[in-house]
């Protein structure tokens, strides 16, 4: 990379136009200046007008959505193009030293406003009262570690971050290994497992509510699959989602169902990357399939298993939608940390407590992520 950049200077030197002479070139450069300024301005006016149009609630639905898409997609390209034009108008000496910042600038601004500022702000708010006005010290944190619902949510989240990766990775690994041996239909089988990844948590919740559905006696037939099985076995139907503490496990199953496909796909790619000669050599030496799996496959994809596990741990830590959409976490005792946070912010309206929960979630994610990033960098160094 370094040498390539040294060449940039040389290349630019070659490209540079000869110094302008005569009145004609003056007109041309004036036109260029006018163009460089006018084009972005006209563009922004158009964007602004269409943006106003988007706020107009009476406008036609389809048109509104169409304009939104065009403005959103076109706007971003226009932004870069316009900025690049403006740079071209700078004296040649500065152009190439300013241009990189035009390329990275928007990303850095957005990240600063939407991620860095919020982290600082949330930490400050977590030290304030319910309206986020007066500083009250560490009271909110004390609340987090004493309130019964909060403690339960922490316990439950621990369950999620242990069980989801455990089941997801082991089923994913088993399936990837098995499917790898299929002579036909591997792709189809894999996409069936992978399919739930494309479904929203809200959609998945409906799907699983249908499975757990329960109707007490006198309220009609039980149309839930699980209770159908119970009746088929001659048992009484069960209100699955109200069985404490197992209802937590039933919710966890939903996430396992959704995330196993991810683990499976990534692990499968890692398995396929193991050189065939190694596996063949082991088999010829008389190793059983189980031994090949335990002694060769698992050790060689261990780094991938670690990455997938971290990814799933982080996802499980931040789980919110499933618990929220499945309903009544407080009465059912199925609270999780992220769900509590939203509850305190938006339903119980206590910003300080919500922020304190967010900070704790943040602190919990950091070590997992740091390990992950360090791994990435080690691999980068090896490459």
């Amino acid at each position: 990379v370094r040498t390539s950049n040294d060449d940039v200077g040389g290349a630019v030197g070659v490209v540079q136009e000869p110094p302008p002479t005569g009145p004609q070139t003056v007109v041309v450069s004036i036109l260029r200046v006018v163009g460089a300024i006018a084009i972005p301005i006209v563009g922004f006016v158009i964007l602004w007008l269409s943006y106003d149009f988007l706020r107009d609630a009476d406008a036609n639905r389809f048109l509104r959505v169409g304009v939104a898409i065009v403005v959103g997609v076109g706007g971003v390209f226009f932004l870069y193009w316009g900025m690049n034009r403006v740079i071209d108008f700078l004296p040649a000496r500065y152009r190439e030293s300013v241009r990189p910042y035009i390329f990275v600038g928007p990303a850095l601004v957005i990240l600063a406003v939407f991620l860095i500022y919020p982290v600082i702000n949330t930490i400050l708010v977590s030290l304030k009262d319910s309206l986020g006005q007066e500083y009250i010290g560490l009271d909110n944190y004390r609340f987090v570690f004493t309130n019964e619902g909060m403690l339960r949510s922490i316990r439950n989240t621990f369950g999620w971050i242990v069980i989801v990766p455990l089941l997801g990775v082991s089923i994913g690994l088993a399936f990837a290994t098995l499917a790898d041996r299929l002579r036909r239909g591997e792709a189809v089988a894999k996409s069936m497992i992978f399919l739930p990844m494309a479904i929203s948590f809200a959609g998945a919740s409906i799907t699983w509510r249908l499975i757990f559905s329960f109707r007490p006696q006198g309220f009609g037939t039980n149309i839930g699959l699980l209770n159908g099985i119970m009746l088929g076995l001659g048992q009484d139907p069960v209100s699955w989602l109200d069985v404490k503490p197992w209802n937590n496990l039933f919710l966890i199953v939903i996430m396992v169902w959704m995330q196993t496909g991810f683990a499976m796909v990534v692990l499968s790619a890692a398995i396929k990357a193991i050189p065939d000669e190694i596996l063949e050599a082991a088999r010829i030496d008389g190793a059983s399939e189980l031994q090949v799996f335990r002694r060769i496959i698992v050790p060689s994809i261990l780094p991938t298993i670690a990455v997938v596990t971290t990814y799933m741990v982080i996802n499980a830590m931040k789980v919110f939608d499933i618990v929220f959409v499945m309903g009544s976490p407080e009465t059912r005792g199925t609270e999780v940390i992220a769900e509590r946070m939203i509850d305190w912010f938006f339903i119980s309206n206590h910003d300080g407590r919500g922020a304190a929960i967010a900070v704790i979630l943040f602190l919990a994610v950091i070590p997992v992520m740091v390990v992950n990033i360090r791994r990435f960098r080690e691999e980068e160094a090896i490459r």
Binding site: V71, Y80, I206, T304, V325, I342, R383
Partner: protein, 315 residues
């Protein structure tokens, strides 16, 4: 000795291989059955929703969906009515449009911004390049839940230090732009990281020769890097699109749950709350929300899988 050794190896190798083939046949039956069992377990939930969504209300309420297997030509027949009902009464038609208006720009914008940044991080020389890149990757740590409230405040009332307005009061709550920007920010760290890995690994010779031919950075980026990076861009596009389409939280916070603004996931969650026992309606609604992501997923699966593995496995 050294000449004789390979000879006995030959005959022993053949039976081993034959035995392995025999085991393989027996083993492959086990493999097929095991795979089949897991696949069936995995599609049962979706299958239940699919079947229920085509059954008339009376039947949905009186018999389990699995009874169609014993009685496929059920007396009351099959129906498409539930879908019409969901689009209309459930307000899913409007929500579908809103989801499109959120998801398409919220996919394209972060990709564009990340691609420019990734190009600069890989092929442009400027001060602080490495530090900035590490900082961006470090932001992968921030859980988006943490960012929601401060951003909401910014949207509502802006931010100022003393009398200096740092962030103007744009009143972005309930606006598409507000959701786009939020999704962009949450997607950027991963996008920049993945795209930098890809764009940075393109051969430097092609970029050199373009420069010698007189192309400036913008031209190189636009004419050369973007076409070459299509696989990586597509992979991230699918990932981001599915994420945004399926997101409930960000849309709920920034766009709100009003009839006019809500996206599909919110409409679904509302339906669960208000008509949680109307399974014919719920299942049709759920399938409407799954339709587009499933099409995108199956059409572009190859890219998606490649993108995931590129991000998580790396080499």
């Amino acid at each position: 000795m050294s000449v004789a050794e390979p000879l006995p190896a030959e005959p022993t190798a053949v039976p081993t291989r034959r035995r392995a083939a025999g085991e393989d046949r027996q083993g492959s039956r086990f493999v097929r059955i095991a795979v089949l069992v897991i696949v069936i377990l995995w599609i049962i939930p979706t299958l239940g929703v699919l079947i229920t969504s085509f059954r008339p209300k009376a039947l949905v309420d009186s018999t389990g969906w699995w009874t169609v297997f014993t009685d496929p030509f059920q007396a009351a027949g099959w129906t498409l009515e539930n879908y019409g009902l969901a689009l209309d009464q459930g307000g899913l038609g409007n929500a579908f449009l809103n989801s499109l208006a959120v998801a398409i720009p919220a996919t394209v914008i972060p990709i564009a911004i990340a691609a420019f940044a990734a190009y600069a991080f890989s092929w442009m020389d400027f001060r602080g390049r490495y530090v900035m890149f590490v900082a961006v990757v470090g932001l992968l740590v921030v859980p988006l839940q943490m960012a929601l409230i401060p951003i909401l405040r910014l949207y509502n009332s802006g931010a100022s230090i003393g009398r200096l307005i740092v962030f103007p009061d744009l009143d972005l709550v309930g606006e598409f732009l507000g959701v786009w920007l939020a999704h962009t920010a949450f997607g950027l760290p991963l996008a920049i990281y993945l795209l930098r890995n890809y764009i940075g690994s393109l051969p430097s010779s092609i970029i050199e020769s373009a420069k010698i031919d007189g192309a400036d950075h913008f031209t190189i980026f636009w004419r050369l890097i973007i076409p070459l990076s299509v696989p990586a861009l597509a992979a991230f596009a699918i990932f981001q699109f599915l994420w945004v389409w399926n997101d409930l939280l960000v849309a709920y916070v920034f766009l709100g749950g009003t009839q006019q603004n809500r996206v599909l996931t919110i409409a679904l969650a509302n339906l669960v709350g208000s008509r949680g026992v109307d399974w014919h309606l719920l299942t049709a609604a759920a399938f409407i929300s799954m339709g587009l992501p499933l099409i995108v997923f199956f059409a572009l699966q190859k890219y998606f899988v490649r993108g995931l593995t590129a991000g998580a496995v790396k080499g």
